[in-house]
Symmetry: C2
Subunit: 421 residues, 2 copies
Amino acid sequence: METVLPTTRDACLAADAQDSLRNFRTDFLLPEGLIYLDGNSLGARPRTSLATATRVLEDEWGTGLIRSWNTAGWFDLPGRLGNKLATLIGAGPDEVVITDTTSINLFKSLAAAIRIQQSLDPARTVILTERDNFPTDIYMAEGIADFLGQGYSVRLIDETLSLQEALGADVAVVALSHVNYRTGAMWDMTATSKQIHDAGGLVVWDLAHAAGAVPVDLRGAGADFAVGCTYKYLNGGPGSPAFIWVNAAHHDRFWQPLSGWWGHARPFAMEDSYEPVSGIGRFLCGTQPVLSMALVECGLDVSLAASMDAVRAKSLALTDLFIALVSARRGEHPLELITPMEHERRGSHVSYAHPDGYAIMQALIARGIIGDYREPHVLRFGITPLYLGFVDVWDAVEALFDILDNRLWDASKFQERLAVT
Amino acid sequence: METVLPTTRDACLAADAQDSLRNFRTDFLLPEGLIYLDGNSLGARPRTSLATATRVLEDEWGTGLIRSWNTAGWFDLPGRLGNKLATLIGAGPDEVVITDTTSINLFKSLAAAIRIQQSLDPARTVILTERDNFPTDIYMAEGIADFLGQGYSVRLIDETLSLQEALGADVAVVALSHVNYRTGAMWDMTATSKQIHDAGGLVVWDLAHAAGAVPVDLRGAGADFAVGCTYKYLNGGPGSPAFIWVNAAHHDRFWQPLSGWWGHARPFAMEDSYEPVSGIGRFLCGTQPVLSMALVECGLDVSLAASMDAVRAKSLALTDLFIALVSARRGEHPLELITPMEHERRGSHVSYAHPDGYAIMQALIARGIIGDYREPHVLRFGITPLYLGFVDVWDAVEALFDILDNRLWDASKFQERLAVT
């Protein structure tokens, strides 16, 4: 699939017919006729989700009531689902929990890393991240630095300051997104983790746009911490709880300030002082939203049934096709590819800058081709191999150029853009 | 209802027939024959919950997909549902949001209070709470103090140190539970808030066992912050998101370190520095679990249809009845009431200490009478006027004394207790 791209719509249909992942589309319920290119913002609904929700509501909550914390395994959901997710991100057993939000988990992992550094080298007071990172990653780092005071600060990598230049002896922890939310550019996790360790830093990887989309090997890469969400490529449902991983080497030496009762060694002993449980469980804090969490399993089960290598190969073939079809028709349109061409630097979405990006995306959405828009001027197309095929990419690019070539967008829509996801 | 308690089972049935709240029971789906006395741990399932979940899954997620953040109002859920809750706790419009967990919201409000004090009187470095508070309240305070360092510490009120004695010039903020999770004892919120303010402190009220159970008037009481959960007396579903309130006087002067993108003034502008939105919205952090949050509305709508005064009057009548029936039959049993007798000091549950409390509760649960157990030795009975009647209290006490009088419990079960909710 990686070398010979289809060059006609019929060839796309033929490629889809031979696709080893083609049957996974039936595991999702998508509206007829829609081409959904926003699975990197909110994944599609697994077919099993309503039955699972009904079971949780009727049998577990309705009938089991409070007993279901034990009998239906509600207490075990963060760890049990974390273990299911582990194999998709190169984590070991009992190294991942599903809990809280990505933002909250960033806070926990940054705080834990800072605490480790306070015991190793207290002069390390800088949290390093990227100006181009998803904003909440920057904001959470700012929140910690501001709260701690004592000289803690945030430093941003950007076009004027490379990672290597920024990695001074004052850097405590580096927070990077494995795949950039806007451009789709991907860091080399192994080389970058080593580069940071060589400079004495710890690293937190945000896998929001990576988990379930690209192969991730946290243990192999020697990463320290990772967080991410389950509602994008993992299809857990709107706002489904996030995940957090810590390298087993840190399990009993990390501490984090969101020290709620779910992370206590003996939560039901009702002791009057906090003592963290051993291991990843100390990243738990408060009572979790059971219904939203239970649905994470529906999405995970679909991803676990697929070969991650096949998903990656198809993702690259589809993004290659998208890029090739756009290149062939771009002409004079001010449409600039901002996603890397090199496979090893590309995640699973393709993004273009266009001065009228917002209005063009609205015109596409009106035709049932759902991508999304990101500031500034970026049209973003998420490629989810489990429910998209070659012909979907073909049809999406056809529609894009029908709009571009015939100027079928309403530029006045631009002012709406900041209210839109 | 407050003065004449029924003294026979028939009189209980007659009282139920005259109860103005009797029809609310049909708004909940409870298993036939069960007497559910644990609504203070997990509320019952509202009849509308499955239809709501189905709508969110099929129409909003399945069909609307990413568009539902706007078209189905997902972004507005924290504020819209917060406004519904506001009237139940004496809050004003746009003063409450539903979000995250009670533990996380405690962290935010304690951190916000500390930050306010840092600008007023930086020598105030003590977080004051109760040794008998729900443990997560203590643990979250410990987490903040530990993380801040710089002399911050936690002080605990207990039988050796009263609130007044503990309120030194070093106290920044006091975190109290309006109704104690174990004993059901209730603070006078107005007098206690004034007492704390007079000593220069700020106060955070944890309403977990109060919201929906007893009248709460946060604004009238002059409170500063409040947090609480929606899955107890508000019947929001297992682990449904919590709430947080801040007095409007603090709206533009508070700051909190969980500064995620949902609390940003312009979240979709993707700016590279945090700027909090004005008002309660700055207590938001990350993307919320939409399905679990949407179900909060089912429970809120039932509570909003009831008169809070009628709920309180019935709660006191039922807890009075429970206490009177137990007193009449206690005899030589080592069953000690630990809930205050005075109405103005009692929440909506009744608790007894008994050396074999755990095993006795297990015997009750085996008969379909669901209360719960809390360390040490405490049998806890939650009284939820919307779906319990006088005859339920009568039958529960009958069963309790059948077990006590005939020693029908298995004391060997005691060792299981720490694994049970």
